[in-house]
């Protein structure tokens, strides 16, 4: 069928519908490397503006770290640009196995398999190891890629209320007819910065003979005293059966992900996981860069310690200013605004003050839960955070919400 005018018109109408619903996503164009200071073109076609980046997943500031770049260059020279193959034909290099072994050692798990992304890892794992005799019991706010992965598999599905482990226990009691049960959670939930209580989850898993799955994308590299992740933070090293995580956030920020798990689970993924079997190997340049990242993080906790200090400083400053910051200790610090238009206006005004932060609203978060999600990095210096705080104070004052909680903001702006 040709690409007819009628078909073009239908797609245009779909796009218009997205725009009219206020859900159209405009991309901001960076004219610089990813870092605390970035040069941003927004809207497209306008002059670029210097801004402090408060919305990157660059938690450890390694996205443009000179040693990581140098290692990536060396990897490019030594092992080439690409493999032109999936792993099981002729796409496995020594550095892929080395990275898998180093990730297993870092995360303290039995084995690891690399994927093109954590989304691919989540898309492949469930179908590879569970079937219709089994059940997945997931926190209701797990990442979209887990939802998709669960839907791709054959296992039955159940959900429990966000972080409500009494509710999880009810679901475990109700599902005792299943052959295998797997509790599914994010280690850290990306919109709120909430940290799952893996201690309680692992206790329940042992009581009801279930496996535990954790997507640790927003924790690997910095949560826990040595930065190993939520399982270290919660004191359950060795008790989590499956960890999926990304190389696209704290661990260098390029791309790539993995399943780090019991060795039989990893072996089954190598044989069955479709995103692994049918897409190219992680490029050598990324494998080499990620190896250097793990060396840096194993040698010193300096970067995660700095991130912890920056996060405490930022959260305290937001509270002093009188903004409604969602409580917690994670570098994801959401400034709650509740109203979607207010969140959009707030982000626009921050940008005019040289602060790059993005408003999130329904359907990315629940209705009436609009916010600016700030994310702190070890790449931030105190002067970045001071300047950002001054801008948040100025914009908060402009919108008259300083010192207000949810009730007052909703009364002023509505939901």
């Amino acid at each position: 069928m040709s690409y007819s005018e009628a078909l073009r018109g239908r797609y245009r109408a779909d796009i218009d519908g997205i725009r009219e619903a206020g859900l159209y996503k405009e991309e901001r164009i960076l004219h610089s490397a990813q870092a605390a200071d970035v040069e941003v073109e927004f809207p497209a076609g306008s002059a670029t503006r210097q801004a402090i980046n408060m919305c990157a997943n660059n938690y450890l500031g390694l996205s443009s770290h000179p040693e990581v770049i140098a290692a990536a260059h060396a990897g490019l020279d030594a092992r080439g640009y690409g493999l032109s193959s999936v792993r099981f034909i002729c796409g496995t290099q020594d550095i892929h196995r080395e990275l898998e072994n180093k990730l297993s050692a870092f995360l303290e798990v039995e084995d690891t398999i690399l994927f093109g992304s954590c989304l691919d890892a989540n898309a492949g794992i469930f179908e590879a190891v569970l079937n219709e005799q089994d059940i997945l019991i997931a926190d209701r706010l797990v990442h979209a890629s887990i939802v998709d992965g669960m839907r791709l598999g054959k296992a039955r599905q159940e959900t429990y209320k966000h972080l409500d482990y009494a509710h999880l226990e009810e679901k475990l009691k109700e599902s005792q007819d299943a052959r295998t049960r797997m509790i599914v959670t994010d280690g850290v939930f990306s919109m709120d910065g909430d940290i799952a209580d893996l201690g309680q989850i692992c206790d329940l898993a042992e009581k009801y003979d279930a496996m535990v799955f954790v997507d640790d994308s927003h924790a690997s590299g910095f949560l826990g005293k040595r930065g190993r992740g939520t399982h270290e933070h919660c004191g359950v090293l060795g008790r989590v059966d499956v960890i999926t995580t990304t190389l696209g956030k704290a661990l260098g920020g390029a791309s790539g992900g993995c399943v780090s798990a019991r060795k039989e689970i990893v072996e089954l993924c190598r044989q069955r996981a479709r995103p692994y079997l049918f897409s190219n190997s992680v490029p050598p340049v990324i494998a080499a860069g990620a190896l250097r990242v793990l060396e840096l993080l194993t040698a010193s906790t300096e970067r995660r310690d700095k991130l912890e200090g920056n996060t405490a400083f930022w959260r305290t400053r937001l509270q002093e200013i009188g903004l409604d910051v969602r409580p917690g200790t994670h570098p994801i610090a959401p400034v709650m605004l509740y109203n979607a238009k207010l969140a959009q206006d707030f982000a626009r005004d921050l940008f005019l003050e040289g602060i790059f932060a993005v408003g999130f609203f329904f359907p990315v978060v629940a209705k009436g839960q609009a916010r600016i999600r700030t994310q702190i990095s070890a790449g931030h210096e105190r002067h970045h955070l001071e300047r950002a705080a001054a801008a948040f104070e100025k914009v908060g004052a402009k919108h008259g919400i300083l010192g207000m909680g949810k009730k007052e903001i909703v009364e002023k702006y509505g939901l």
């Binding site: 997931a138 939802v147 599905q157 159940e158 209320k161």
Partner: protein, 83 residues
């Protein structure tokens, strides 16, 4: 309202509303399109009625449209129990 609708309604209130949430829900309230139930956690609703009424609902009948109201879910339950 039938017993089936009443049972499902009670489950929805217990399962999807917080204790301090006084949102009024009836058998005609749009659950998914209003954001009370999302398309992911809807699986818990499906699992509940399947277990409660000893039925299996095929995926094509457990659509977001069919499950958008308690009335709609009850209709699916009646159809499957009639078989």
């Amino acid at each position: 309202m039938t017993d089936v609708e009443q049972t499902i309604l009670e489950f929805v209130r217990r399962e999807y509303l917080d204790e301090d949430d006084d949102t009024e829900i009836t058998e005609k309230t749009q659950l998914i399109s209003s954001g009370i139930v999302d398309s992911f956690s809807m699986v818990s609703l499906k699992t509940f009625v399947e277990r409660k009424y000893s039925i299996r609902i095929p995926d094509e009948k457990a659509s977001a449209e069919a499950f958008d109201t308690v009335e709609g879910i009850a209709a699916v339950v009646r159809e499957m129990t009639a078989k």
